[in-house]
Point group: C2
Chain length 183, copies 2
DNA sequence: TACTATATGGACCGACGGTCAAGTTGTCGA
DNA sequence: TCGACAACTTGACCGTCGGTCCATATAGTA
């Protein structure tokens, strides 16, 4: 078990990191700064999260939690029950919206990550999308198409569309691509 | 004009960087190492290329040159003259092959780059693909679909498929997606 | 040959991610 | 209630990185 003070510090560190990311460029949010903002020694941050990638992953995971449960056990069309095509569009709508609200966190994670394709979240999402594509349109190389579609969540692209306020356009194009591909 | 000794050093630096990237992990190829391998002072490297991103961009550009001219003025189907769909598949075939042979260089550039979507090469390729999609299938959001398709060249994905020797599979899936989308 | 714009090299800089040994504190069984 | 021990905290410290700077050297020119 994690001691009470340890848990308190974990929360303080996550909150500090979020706030710093919200108000500064990703490259300006160093581990030292996070520690200082959390009112904690640098060593504590590394003790809790291992390294920069671990901290950023924890941040992403906390932002993504509710979507994950909605997918696996929530009501349709996001959750199980709806036809694959409907679940797919619902998923991409939700995920674009989520990414829009958390570009900075996403970017920080991508940048710190040595292999984002192996992160638990990416793996889970990829499996989800692959399964839906495969069952809706068996002729496609589902896994590969899933990689391509998930590529739209790259922080690079998100940042670009967010800057010009065109994130709806991204969602719309994704919808139309999904329906075209599955037809 | 660039002085003769300067030109010689430029070539030596580019060659050293290529060799180091071929034989080491991207993260192990520091600017110091490149300078040492080129038999040149560190200051010279920065004087020639500005910063790490500049060096890596120069490297990418040198590897990409022949494809660029083949696209703008070579014979069909890569060059002008063929129908858009054919040019598109030819382009992606060529670009996947190119990326396959240069993953390390690509990865190093991506990692060093602050905004890869603004790099001259990406901009040119994106414009090319956008134009072809728009003329083949006006109903699509051409620019956005182009971003998505070009996402397949991300070093992350390339590395993964290269490791398992499945780079043909990537090319094949890309071909089939292009034809499905343009239908 | 003499002059100058250009190029060179490596000591130096601040910042970064990460480590660690020494001190502190929550927790829990007696 | 009170030790005792494991878990936790801390910040000085480390090696490395990208990048700067300027005294020195040299290619090109007239």
């Amino acid at each position: 078990m994690e001691r009470a003070d340890a848990a308190r510090n974990r929360r303080a560190i996550l909150r500090a990191a979020e706030e710093l990311l919200a108000s500064h460029e990703v490259s300006e949010v160093s581990m030292d700064r996070v520690a200082a903002a959390a009112g904690v020694g640098k060593g504590t941050v590394f003790h809790r999260f291992g390294n920069r990638e671990g901290l950023m992953r924890a941040l992403v995971e906390s932002r993504v939690e509710s979507l994950s449960t909605a997918i696996s056990s929530g009501p349709p069309p996001l959750g199980p029950g709806a036809p694959p095509a409907a679940r797919l569009t619902a998923f991409f709508d939700a995920v674009v919206e989520l990414a829009t609200r958390n570009v900075k966190v996403l970017a920080a994670f991508e940048q710190a990550s040595t292999d984002r394709l192996s992160s638990p979240i990416y793996v889970a999402w990829h499996a989800h999308v692959t399964g839906l594509i495969a069952s809706a349109s068996p002729a496609l190389d589902a896994s590969l198409v899933a990689h391509l579609l998930l590529g739209s969540l790259h922080s690079d692209l998100m940042v670009r569309f967010l800057r010009t306020g065109e994130t709806d356009r991204l969602a719309a194009a994704l919808r139309s691509m999904v329906s075209t591909l599955l037809r």
